[in-house]
């Protein structure tokens, strides 16, 4: 794996350590009281952190509650949604897409494609992630990925989108050939 690019926002590990220390005990107490296990509490808290990150750090949602209250709120919702049964993923997936509303889920063999992209296209995936997922500014991306400026970063971003899109197309065709 390429270690030269640290894709996470600067607070990175410190941010999550702080959030665990502040909000995990209350989440764990809530889940334990309702008969849940430590593993369930950990799983729910991990997903709550992802949702929190997407909404607040990369989604620019302004929250009026404390971080602890907000995270506990997400965790409670996840717990209740999962307690309902098969629709476990519902709560997680219903979080509005941060890219585009009503985005379609890929219908190709995602995992195979993902592992291919993680190796063959890692630099592009890291850059696209920095822009679309972490919502990093183009100037910061230029700095981090060594581009001469924002213009060059923009061009590279679209080149990467094209490269990945072509890959999706190719893999999809291969997959269709295979299944037909």
């Amino acid at each position: 794996m390429n270690k030269t690019h640290q894709p996470y926002i600067d607070q990175g590990e410190g941010l999550f350590t702080r959030l665990y220390l502040e909000a995990f005990p209350a989440t764990a107490a809530f889940i334990s009281k309702r008969g849940g296990s430590l593993t369930q509490a950990k799983d729910i808290f991990q997903d709550a952190l992802i949702i929190y990150y997407e909404q607040v750090y990369s989604g620019n949602t302004e929250i009026k509650l404390t971080e602890k209250a907000y995270l506990l709120g997400i965790a409670k919702n996840l717990w209740y949604a999962r307690a309902k049964g098969p629709g476990q993923q519902e709560a997680f997936d219903s979080i509005d897409s941060l890219f585009i509303a009503d985005i379609k889920e890929p219908d190709l063999s995602e995992n195979k494609l993902m592992s291919f992209l993680e190796t063959a296209g890692e630099k592009c995936m890291e850059m696209l992630k920095a822009f679309y997922y972490d919502k990093m500014s183009l100037s910061k991306i230029s700095e981090r990925f060594g581009f001469s400026g924002t213009r060059s970063a923009t061009v590279q971003k679209y080149k990467c989108l094209e490269k990945v899109r072509d890959e999706v197309k190719e893999r999809k065709l291969e997959y269709e050939d295979f299944t037909e």
Binding site: Y8, Q46, F99, I100, Y133, V155, V164
Partner: protein, 88 residues
């Protein structure tokens, strides 16, 4: 930028509702007539979804490292104890 990249940018603006009304309508009309363009739009949507999945996967890996640290490092033994006591 070369033509294909301009097209990618245009598709991105279309998908994120950043095209002015008239251009957006024109794009919709073009997509009805040009199946290749329609396919590119659909593949680009899938690409964004894939980037989000990739982002989540990486983020989750980082979160799990933090969790592991809190449950194994002696510096956080008090925290670990406090949590374990809840599930005694």
């Amino acid at each position: 930028m070369r033509t294909s990249l301009n097209e990618i940018e245009h598709i991105e603006r279309h998908l994120s509702d950043r095209l002015p009304g008239e251009e957006s309508l024109l794009m919709e009309a073009r997509m009805c007539l040009d199946m290749e363009l329609a396919q590119k739009v659909s593949l680009q949507e899938e690409t964004y979804a894939l980037v989000r999945q990739y982002g989540r996967k990486k983020l989750k890996a980082e979160i799990m490292l933090v969790e592991k640290k809190l449950f194994t490092s002696p510096g956080y033994a008090g925290f670990k104890q406090r949590i374990l006591s809840l599930f005694g």
